[in-house]
């Protein structure tokens, strides 16, 4: 990937993130923070690639650590967000 292309991606992603949050009602701030916390859990993909290229024992250990942490970020982030959002109902007993 060329640097310039990456720069465009950085810019557009930053605007996307800003626009998504700008219109969100306050009641969703906590779930949304939790949801975005889940989304950066995609770091687990990068961690898998890093571990996949690890050669020495040190690298394997750090890579293992990275994948475990990344997986925890993704799984934990999903569970808590889903639990919170599952509670938002419009009417009682609906």
């Amino acid at each position: 990937m060329t640097e310039m292309l990456a720069l465009y991606i950085f810019m557009l992603a930053a605007f996307t993130g800003y626009e998504i949050i700008a219109k969100v009602p306050v009641i969703l701030h906590t779930p949304l923070m939790s949801g975005s916390n889940f989304i950066h859990g995609v770091v687990v993909v990068g961690a898998m690639v890093a571990l996949g290229h690890a050669e020495t024992v040190t690298e394997q250990a750090i890579g293992f650590f990275a994948v475990a942490l990344g997986a925890a970020n993704a799984a934990g982030g999903y569970v808590v967000t889903e639990r919170m959002l599952g509670m938002f109902k419009k009417k009682e007993g609906a």
């Binding site: 219109k23 690639v49 938002f88």
Partner: protein, 457 residues
């Protein structure tokens, strides 16, 4: 390394689902679907990664995936809604740690990159490591493992020195390629200590803003490591979170009227200094009178605070609300932007108790209604209804937007004792003529009110 098209395509699909998911989460109606979409995106991205050619250590990888996700899944299922903020903090810290560890593996391999890539990798490693230890401290504080704010002598100087040191070490790592292993270790140690030291003195009330800030940090770190790995999905997911997290942090800081620099460098001291002395006395009433006042009111606004949440009184409060509504009283909930421990945290707690979200109103929506309301019932909230924030320029909370509960015809405050709120500032509301105090734990008090309401029929 060339990633084949089919892997790239599924990574792309992951990124698309993340953005659609976040978009869905921006409205209460579609929020639940949003997180599910994002969840599919994650599964697709992870499964596709197994098909990247030339990956080794697959067994280790599967083991790490299973261990990490199982531990987090179980802890996430068990945690109570009141403890949600610290769980978000700890999962976020793990993401930051993972980003820093990716950089560590890359440094150790001594991969050759151009200057821009190495620089971004180092910056990602630095903020990832800070987010990791910082989030762990935030978790420990909110969980009550670490009770007191801990302030070093010359804290701000130490912060600046550590920050500069980490930058200098980072530049050294960039300059020496491949860098000396000891230098790399030192760089990570200083970055980890920096996160620790910066977060230690920050008080619990400011912690939500800090968690949000670290959330944005982790996002950026993930984005930068994604650039190093040539993975646009990591860049997009990371930067979207980085940008939205930064905005969310600003919104929170604004709602508390505390600029971010204040939160990081001059925490509220909590000894109540500043502010004028307040005249008058606090007047008590009992649960029976409180029940009668609300039963024969035409409009009641309930202002819940964190005190209600820790007392687990939200279910009782909702039961009470239902009884009042049966008697023909109009009941609304007024939520301050920073009620609870995070913006929107109180909404989650009320939703858990079954309160429909169309009964819950924001500060701007409800403030005009207080003068027409017969009773404002304040449960475990304090600073967010303190009128000195409007009137007393010498008060430490001056300028913070508050709920104008003091404008109501009558105010009833359910409160454990006579102490001050989180900020340590005396609340002038409690001394006004139309305010009555109902001392006790929120849950039994709400229970008593319910009993009295039932006998009134």
């Amino acid at each position: 390394m060339d990633t084949p098209f089919y892997v790239q395509f599924f990574w792309f699909l992951g990124a698309l689902l993340f953005i659609l998911g976040l978009k869905g989460m921006s409205s209460p109606v579609t929020a639940r679907k949003g997180i599910v979409w994002a969840g599919y995106g994650m599964i697709i991205a992870v499964v596709a990664t197994f098909f990247v050619p030339g990956l080794q250590n697959i067994a280790l990888m599967v083991a790490a995936l299973l261990i990490g996700s199982a531990v987090a899944w179980i802890s996430g299922q068990k945690v109570q809604m009141t403890d949600m903020p610290q769980m978000v903090a700890i999962y976020n810290g793990m993401g930051g740690g993972a980003a820093a560890a990716i950089a560590a593996v890359e440094f150790s391999r001594g991969g050759h990159h151009d200057l821009a890539t190495t620089t971004l990798t180092v910056i990602g490693a630095l903020i990832g490591a800070v987010s990791f230890t910082g989030s762990c401290v935030a978790f420990a504080k909110l969980q009550g493992i670490m009770k007191k704010a801990f302030r070093l002598p010359a804290q701000n100087t130490v912060n600046v020195v550590l920050a500069l040191l980490s930058v200098v070490l980072g530049v050294a790592v960039i300059g020496m390629s491949p860098a000396d292993p000891m230098l790399i270790v030192l760089f990570f140690v200083v970055a980890l200590v920096l996160g620790l030291i910066v977060t230690l003195p920050i008080g619990g009330a400011d912690m939500p803003v800090v968690i949000s800030l670290f959330n944005a940090f982790t996002g950026l770190a993930v984005g930068f490591e994604g650039y190093m790995q040539n993975n646009p999905t990591l860049i997009i997911a990371g930067i979207v979170v980085g940008a939205s997290g930064t905005l969310l942090t600003q919104l929170m800081a604004k709602a508390m009227n505390r600029p971010l620099t204040n939160i990081l460098f001059s925490p509220i001291t909590g000894n109540g200094e500043g502010g004028q002395a307040i005249e008058g006395t606090m007047k008590e009433l009992n649960a029976l009178d409180a029940a009668a006042m609300m039963r024969y009111a035409s409009k009641v606004i309930i202002v819940p605070g964190y005190g209600m949440a820790v007392a687990h009184a939200q279910h009782k409060v909702w039961e009470m609300t239902a009884l009042l509504e049966e008697a023909g009283v109009e009941v609304k909930f007024a939520i301050h932007p920073v009620a609870g421990r995070m913006p929107g945290h109180m909404n989650v707690l009320l939703a858990e108790a079954g309160v429909p979200y169309d009964k819950i109103y924001d500060l701007e929506e409800i403030n005009g209604e207080f003068p027409q309301c017969d009773v404002a019932l304040i449960i475990g909230a304090n600073d967010v209804v303190n009128p000195t924030a409007r009137t007393d320029k010498s008060s430490p909370i001056y300028g913070m937007p508050i709920l104008d509960a003091d404008m109501a015809q009558n105010v009833i405050v359910i409160k454990r004792g006579k102490g001050t709120g989180y900020s340590g500032v005396e609340n002038a509301l409690f001394y006004t003529d139309n305010c009555r105090m109902l001392y006790g734990d929120a849950q039994p008090m709400a229970g008593e009110i319910i009993q009295h309401l039932k006998t009134m029929g």
